[in-house]
């Protein structure tokens, strides 16, 4: 706090400060609240039947106006993702029952700009490949056995693969032996890991991924951080490639 720049009133980092203190439009705020809640429901962070905070609580938690929170909840209600009841014990409850996961995920993807997608991809790529490289220094035979067990069976479908990949990546993050890195990875996975798991709808992709993950686990067990990073990068490059094609097709 006692820096010269702060005392003289001349911000030391004007760009960074503009990013922090720049105006956020109302429309953008509603979208942000909507997309946070939708992604949380789609990804399962918010569970079926879970009661959401009330409008004023939600507004205060997210630091937005009550009207913004109300608009966002209205959209969720229209899309059938929440149900609101009045009176004692009432509130807004998460409804995953009518949720067509594939359709919802594609709908979410279609709503993203290419710029946003690239932004998410860069952050996802960095943390996941970084975890693979670092984890290689610590993986022993028991750890590798646990990672192999997470891989789905030969005839498992997209759903099983998506949850397996999420658990595999979090397990690899945990093997860095840093709780902070693991929490960052979990945050990234929870917020937009779903997008990078969309390509699991294709059987070819699942087969190619199995081979690569087996190789990746071998590299981790061998303590080869460079190979682990390269294999993880190859996997994510393919996922992002497929994702961008799907994104382009959905936005036509």
């Amino acid at each position: 706090m006692a820096t010269g720049a702060a005392r003289s009133g001349t911000p030391a980092q004007p760009r960074a400060r503009a990013a922090v203190f720049g105006r956020i439009g109302d429309a953008s705020r509603i979208e942000q609240v909507e997309s946070r809640l939708i992604e949380a429901i789609v990804s399962g962070v918010l569970e079926d039947g879970e009661r959401l905070p009330s409008e004023p609580e939600l507004a205060s938690l997210l630091g937005v106006s009550t009207i913004t929170a109300r608009h966002a909840l209205n959209t969720l209600r229209e899309r059938g993702l929440i149900e609101t009841t009045r009176g004692r014990g009432g509130g807004s409850f998460v409804r995953r029952a009518g949720l067509d996961a594939e359709k919802m995920l594609r709908g979410q993807l279609a709503g993203l700009t290419r710029v946003d997608l690239d932004d998410r991809a860069a952050s996802y790529l960095l943390i996941v490949t970084g975890c693979a490289e670092l984890a290689a220094e610590f993986v022993d035979a028991d750890d590798a056995a646990l990672l192999r067990e997470i891989l789905p069976g030969a005839d498992e479908g997209a759903g099983a693969w998506r949850s397996a990949e999420a658990e595999l990546f979090v397990a690899i993050g945990a093997l860095t032996r840093s709780a902070r890195v693991t929490r960052q990875l979990i945050a990234v996975e929870s917020l937009f890991g779903w997008a990078f798991r969309l390509p699991y709808a294709e059987a070819d992709y699942r087969e190619e991924t199995r081979a690569r993950f087996e190789e990746l686990i071998d590299a981790l067990a061998a303590g080869d951080g460079d190979a682990a990073r390269r294999l993880m990068r190859q996997h994510l490059d393919l996922a992002i490639d497929q994702l961008l094609r799907l994104h382009a097709a959905l936005r036509k």
Binding site: E47, L146, E149, E167, R177, A179
Partner: protein
């Protein structure tokens, strides 16, 4: 004791302190296990009955020991009719109740793969695991002490346990290692450095056998106090 000849008294005393600490913690963990076992009487057990059986002991323990990150009882698959997995587990300052562990995609997370569950479940022996980053419950870097719990017929009911933050273990062990001096190092059950006076030792990595000049293996768990 794995090496012959004279041991430094300090090293032996240090290992005895580790044994005392783990021994006391295991007494508490076994008590949680006994409370859980009592909940599985004649009638079909339920998660609610298990939770209320375990909770008073957990509260008493967490009141008495402020060094625990969490504790409780984790059910073996097939014990409850209506669910495979259940954690009667409380964690953190607010003693948040866990119940179910979920992955980032919302599915139930299978804890039976984790070493702290699997080792006592398959060997029947009490276990000290870690430190490791626990992504099932706490998302913290922890050491977990677990004890298997079986019914009269020997069927596994689950695992009772308690978590300590690795940082808590470091705070506890450093003064002990200083009584030994030199490059005294506490090595975990899988041969990895847990706490060390030697800045060149990287925590979490295996300590080379050739680097160990003198060692005493603890009795309660195969942790090692070593001079490098």
């Amino acid at each position: 004791m794995t090496t012959t000849g004279h041991k430094s008294e300090e090293l032996v005393a240090c290992s005895q302190e580790v044994d005392r600490f783990l021994g006391e913690l295991l007494v508490d963990v076994r008590a949680i296990g006994a409370a859980a076992r009592a909940a599985f009487g004649d009638s079909a057990p339920t998660a609610g009955r298990l939770t209320s059986a375990v909770e008073p002991g957990v509260n008493e323990l967490m009141d008495r020991r402020d060094d625990l990150q969490g504790c409780g009882f984790v059910v073996a698959p097939g014990i409850f009719a209506d669910r495979e997995l259940f954690l009667a587990w409380w964690q953190g300052r607010p003693r948040a109740f866990l119940g179910e562990a979920r992955s980032v995609t919302g599915e139930a997370l299978d804890y039976t793969r984790q070493a702290w569950y699997r080792a006592p479940a398959t060997t029947g022996a009490e276990q000290v695991t870690g430190p490791y980053v626990d992504y099932v419950c706490t998302d913290e870097y922890v050491v977990t002490v677990t004890a298997p719990v079986a019914d009269d017929s020997g069927r596994l009911l689950g695992v009772a346990g308690a978590d300590l933050l690795a940082a808590t273990v470091e705070d506890w062990a450093l003064p002990l290692l200083r009584t030994v001096g030199g490059r005294a190092t506490l090595i975990g059950t899988t041969g990895r450095a847990v706490v060390s006076l030697d800045p060149a030792v990287r925590l979490g990595r295996a300590v080379a056998q050739s680097a160990i000049r003198e060692r005493v293996v603890c009795r309660v768990a195969p942790m090692t106090v070593a001079q490098l």
